[in-house]
């Protein structure tokens, strides 16, 4: 399991706690359908997926999941307004071309959005940048700048400001870290912007 994959699975456990039983969930970038399967099994969720890789879509089909091939930048428009209780985007917002539009789309499609992303203001990032003067490579962001898919990295503070601009309410926030249970945080506090390696948000419209 890659470190990024491990981070995803930590997200999944926290997401299971956020989603109410029997809800309709759209998982954007659902990969091999692991989260959708967990949600269906443990929360009785009616799940749908959007996934870029044809091989993964094929795997999802064999698992009995309803998954559409496509990507967050282009294909969210295919989903009707308020057709899901939750739209989930894990560790992907930083890799899309238009994160602001995608975030708005999530809350057009879903009554709530669940979004996780790495925090570029984590102390390890700041330290590496300060001491080495190079783009940080950490557990959450393991690849070199020239090969990473992450083109729109942001900090906790950046994200809360964007949510505010889009009129989105942050209903709850969790800090995620390796090998630890998700920890509820106040994302406005400067200390969390230092401490959270990665964060998970439950969003709704104001």
């Amino acid at each position: 399991m890659s470190p990024a994959e491990a981070a995803r699975r930590e997200d999944f456990r926290a997401i299971l706690g956020m989603v109410r039983p029997g809800a309709r969930v759209l998982d954007i970038g659902c990969g091999e359908g692991l989260l959708l399967e967990m949600l269906a099994r443990e929360n009785g969720v009616v799940g749908r997926g959007l996934e870029l890789s044809p091989a993964n879509v094929s795997l999802c089909l064999a698992r009995g999941l309803a998954v559409v091939q496509g990507d967050a930048d282009h294909d969210l428009a295919d989903f009707p307004n308020q057709s899901f209780d939750y739209a989930v985007l894990t560790q992907t917002l930083q890799a899309v071309r238009r994160p602001r539009e995608v975030l708005a789309e999530l809350l057009r499609i879903g009554e709530r959005a669940i979004v996780s992303l790495p925090n570029f203001a984590h102390w390890k990032m700041r330290w590496e940048l300060l001491t080495c003067g190079r783009m940080p490579m950490t557990r959450a962001l393991p690849r070199a700048w020239w090969e990473t898919d992450n083109i729109h990295l942001c900090t906790l503070r950046d994200f809360t400001i964007l949510c505010d601009e889009l009129g989105l309410k942050i209903e709850s926030s969790m800090a995620l870290a390796e090998g630890q249970a998700a920890r509820p945080i106040d994302p406005q506090r400067a200390i969390e912007n230092w401490r959270a390696e990665s964060a998970l948000f439950l969003l709704s419209r104001k």
Binding site: P54, V57, L61, A62, R63, V68, D75, D78
Partner: protein, 405 residues
């Protein structure tokens, strides 16, 4: 458990039931047509592979494409060639006669045994010709529903088809949602585009320009518009292939050394197309070609729903859909499939969609495409699991065949 796969295949190939026949429906069961008319005498020619289980829950209807027929996985009676979908239908294949009861019937308007323009018009005692009513995709589906009724099947486990067969599969979900558990729609569209209609019109004009067409009355005059039908097939065949596939197969290769400086088939691609045209006229009827192309041109699922395709599927929310397209298909390109997926999403249906990377053009759905095979196998296996289909229900458990669960 037999450990030798070769040996096992041989035993399995011989072990499933195959039947074919023609059902006749009289004036007591007329086929109502979209045009407003009806057919009081209808014959439906079909083939089945496998056995209907005790619960009558394992039936799959395959809908064939424009010039296809019911001979899906058995040799064609005219050409002697293997069935047109042996890649997908057979023991160990996604559609497996050991676990499924697989049905395919010739469409209404066709020329392989089902009533069409070459059938005898009971009123005149002569072939229908152009007196045959114009038929639609929904008419084809209504005829299939009559067949399914006659076979004693309430609900189909799956309706599956490519191209025009995919259109019928979608129409099944719209018209008989309570009778369909799942739908697989391959390389199709929910309507014919201007370009689709244009190519079909080219084919029809080629047929009607042939002096031997005789206003559609060629059979009583003992002639056949073979030239026109051949040209129609040549033009259509180009639309079934991608540019890359044609280039890879033929390039500018010549038939013999040097050019003829005339109009013989100098290039291999010319010879290939002429062969396709000539072979086609042996097995297909020109008037059927007119009627079936017309049916696809008239196809526009949204038309009956105020232009809202999603509304066609509002009653099909419980149907499982699998929509597949191919990257190099320019006849029914991926955006057409995406429009179907968008509508199904808007209707709240359970839809999966995959665009398969292939350079083989529209015909890819008829070829050995492992990604398509795996996707359909996975989709049907999981749908079968949800419907409670297991191989033990088919009474072949003693054969110990491997397969997807």
């Amino acid at each position: 458990m037999d450990k030798d796969p070769m040996n096992r295949d041989v035993r399995e190939a011989a072990a499933y039931a195959q039947e074919g026949g023609t059902l006749v429906f009289g004036p007591d069961k007329p086929l109502r047509l979209d045009s407003g008319g009806r057919l009081d005498h209808v014959e439906i020619a079909y083939r089945t592979y496998g056995t209907l289980n005790a619960e009558r829950s394992n039936a799959i209807l395959i809908c064939h494409a424009l010039t296809g027929d019911q001979h899906v996985a058995s040799d064609h009676p005219i050409t002697g060639k293997p069935g047109w979908w042996t890649q997908m239908v057979g023991p160990g294949k996604p559609l497996d006669p050991h676990r499924h009861f697989i049905i395919c019937s010739n469409v209404i308007g066709g020329c392989m045994g089902t009533t069409g323009p070459s059938s005898i018009n009971p009123a005149s005692g002569k072939p229908w010709g152009l007196a045959f009513p114009v038929i639609t995709i929904a008419d084809m589906v209504r005829a299939q529903a009559m067949l399914i009724d006659a076979l004693g099947i309430d609900s189909l486990f799956a309706v599956i088809g490519g191209s025009m067969g995919g259109m019928q599969a979608l129409q099944w979900a719209a018209d008989y949602p309570e009778r369909v558990y799942s739908v697989v729609c391959l390389a199709a569209a929910a309507k014919h585009s201007a370009q689709n209609i244009a190519f079909h019109e080219l084919g029809r004009q080629a047929i009607m320009a042939d002096p031997d067409w005789r206003g559609g009355d060629y059979t009583p005059q003992s002639v056949r518009p073979e030239k026109g039908l051949g040209v129609a097939r040549m033009a259509a065949h180009i639309t079934y292939l991608s540019e890359q596939a044609l280039q890879r197969k033929f390039g500018r290769e010549l038939q013999r050394d040097g050019l003829s400086w005339g109009f013989d088939a100098d290039f291999q691609v010319e010879s290939y197309l002429r062969h396709q045209g000539a072979a086609f006229v042996d097995r297909f009827d020109a008037n059927s070609y007119l009627y079936i192309t017309r049916a696809t041109d008239y196809f526009d699922m949204a038309a009956g729903y105020g232009g809202l395709l999603a509304d066609a599927f509002l009653k099909a929310r419980d149907v499982r859909f699998c929509v597949l397209s191919f990257t190099s298909d320019w006849l029914y390109p991926t955006p057409e499939s995406r429009a179907i997926v968008r509508a199904l999403n808007a209707a709240g249906a359970r839809v999966s969609f995959l665009e398969i990377d292939s350079d083989k053009g529209h015909d890819a759905f008829l070829l050995d495409e492992p990604v398509m095979r795996n996707a359909v196998a996975g989709f049907l296996a999981s749908a079968g699991h949800a419907r409670g289909l297991g191989h033990e229900t088919l009474g072949h458990g003693d054969l110990g065949h491997g397969g997807l669960e």
